[in-house]
Symmetry: C2
Subunit: 365 residues, 2 copies
DNA sequence: CGCCCCTCGGCAAGCCCTTTCCCGAACACG
DNA sequence: CGTGTTCGGGAAAGGGCTTGCCGAGGGGCG
């Protein structure tokens, strides 16, 4: 022991002779070369022992291992990635970790990633399309082996094209990408059945006797919101409800959005018998708004959401929603990106949406 | 003026003889050398233009930029990190993304990280101490510039020592670390006032007239749980409540844990007037258990938690808890790790905990 | 007993960048 | 017109690691 510091790895410090205010730094990480020297073998041998790329005879093997342990050697993963030409990191781009929808998906992705002993780069866009683009760049620059993007498709043509372009660039550079909630990007895709889910929900609500509805929708440009709205309309029509009467309010895709839209709805006059918030986060906001306005759910108005996010478990009244297997969606996307051979044609996985009727929607007499 | 075409930067495929814009789409990322060749300048010049490390004359500058754009060049961040000897990634180790406590903290960390244009490696240990250790290794191996660990200290001496050892190794290799909820590890630390927060809570509950309490605690070895329990006891004592009567049940630090402990409590016989769950996730579990057993909160029993996690907003009755500024804690930890000069003595930040009385705890007549 | 093949170390040439060093050209000034 | 000073560009030396290739030794087999 105690020899750890004397390794003669001369840096370029020798040049400036005595004049150098720079001390003998040698404080950085331990190098493979030092391990090799310590063990009295060549660099190559040390490398082979530690990365197990080829068998190495016992005497040397043991010495290298011992040296590595003693010196507390940690391989430089960056350098390894460069040398091997392949990294073991996965990129994950979501809107926001704080949103249970995204954190559930992230959870699913991470499970898969961990199983394969990879690491994940997490980036959150906070719903900013430019940041999304930027992150694809970043991830590509880090040469992530797989990239999973969980955004929401918009009608913004320019952005869609740019994104597709970036992803194509990423794929051309040899990466695998999977996108959740978006297709037509030339990558693997995991897409929930927004439309048919909403349609089924409309049907169930109609069967409970509802005829007058309001929809709290997200921004107009958001396809997820739009699909759900369209599906809901279709469902109503199929049940013989006149969709001309349907009140549709557009707002932010957030809790605050739901809250203010619900407030608006209350202010606007007589409530419909049932309100459909196109996602659960908005539904929770709406629930809060109703509660603080003294509107009882479901007695005064029924309320349904979409996604079936985790925090719903603890809400009273329990919220009717359309269940999406969020973790599974994340996991599936990760599998697509990680287990598919590059160059394979991209797959699109449809995820089933299932209506779950709970206490927030009552049967009308 | 030489045509500068002589650059023999041939790639491994040099089959198409003279001239011409590059047509052969070699798979894999575009290299800096290709950009340089395309622009007709040297590698060094291209590098300087793209990383802005030194001024480059306009004619060349423009050509390099154009070439990079045309070829869709993306620098290899890994190689850059190796060459520069510094990476721009931050490691974040938490227990579980799905747990709102951790995702809030993660949110705070990410905000700071994003502001600085860095990226984060996220790892979740699922409360497995060995994985925690392993991840510190991994992060170190990736040479993350800063490492933030958000675990919970246990009484497991061996593990604590190992962790301290790993972190010391990380620091010795030049990294900055900050730990949330743990101190004495020789790193920066952000620690909530668990004990005094619980003490204050106990006081408030006593002032509401409660005298008979039960505590739903986490695993015995978890210091976070233990500190809160101790603080709670202290608070009770200060208010003249005999802690010998205190029922303490230990279980998992999760929703299920809270749920089954509450069920146990119910089964055990007459309920105390107030139950303190040492964290909110457990409190939510307990609430569910009470509800399904027909025990009304707060009429039949008062319930208080700790942490004030986000989903609490939508729970009825609104839950009394001890507020911790979770996002801020994450942000603070990130700041400590990112803005402090290496070699500085490590700082410990105490985070204030504040009792928030809500509807789940009623005043006794 | 000789041959061949197989195992295992080591050298050195990569991987893709950055950065230092150095030199020629361009500019200012006396 | 010479000299000093930028300034900009190229070549080459790293940065820490992997790996193709060669050669030396050792065993199995004919």
């Amino acid at each position: 022991m105690t020899t750890a510091r004397e390794s003669p790895t001369g840096r370029r410090a020798e040049q400036d002779g005595a004049a150098g205010p720079i001390a003998v730094r040698r404080s950085g990480p331990v190098l493979l070369a030092e391990v090799a020297a310590h063990a009295g073998v060549s660099l190559a041998t040390a490398s082979r022992v530690l990365s197990g790329s080829r068998s190495v005879g016992e005497p040397h093997r043991g010495r290298v291992l011992a040296a590595a342990q003693e010196l507390r050697y940690t391989p430089n993963a960056q350098a390894q990635a460069v040398a091997r030409g392949a990294s073991n990191v996965v990129g994950l781009v979501i809107h926001d970790v704080l949103d249970p929808y995204f954190s559930s998906i992230a959870g699913g992705v991470m499970r898969q990633v961990e199983e394969r002993e990879l690491v994940v780069f997490l980036a959150s866009t906070h719903s900013d399309v430019d940041r999304e683009l930027e992150f694809v760049q970043t991830m590509r620059s880090h040469r992530v082996r797989a990239l999973i993007i969980c955004g929401s498709r918009t009608t913004d043509r320019v952005h869609n094209e740019r994104l597709a372009h970036e992803l194509e660039g990423y794929a051309a550079a040899g990466g695998q990408a999977a996108v959740i909630s978006q297709d037509r990007l030339g990558t693997h895709a995991v897409v929930p059945q927004n439309r048919s889910g909403a349609r089924a929900l409309a049907r169930e609500l109609c069967r409970l006797g509802h005829r007058r509805f309001a929809v709290l929708a997200g921004p107009r440009g958001l396809l997820t919101s739009r699909d759900r709205l369209i599906g809901f309309r279709e469902g109503l029509t199929a049940e013989g409800v006149d969709v001309a009467d349907l009140q549709v309010l557009h707002g932010e895709f957030t809790r605050e959005g739901g809250e203010s839209l619900a407030a608006e709805l209350i202010a606007a006059g007589p409530l419909p018998t049932c309100v459909f918030a196109v996602n659960d986060v908005m539904a929770l906001g709406a629930l809060a708004a109703f509660r603080s306005a003294g509107v009882r759910v479901p007695e005064d108005v029924s309320l349904a959401g979409f996604d079936d996010i985790a925090p719903l478990r603890d809400v009273v009244p329990s919220l009717t929603s359309v269940h999406l297997p969020l973790e599974e969606m994340g996991a599936r996307a990760a599998q697509l990106a990680l287990d598919t051979e590059p160059q394979t044609t991209s797959q699109a996985v449809k995820v089933r949406a299932e209506v779950v009727l709970r206490d927030s929607t009552r049967r009308l007499p």
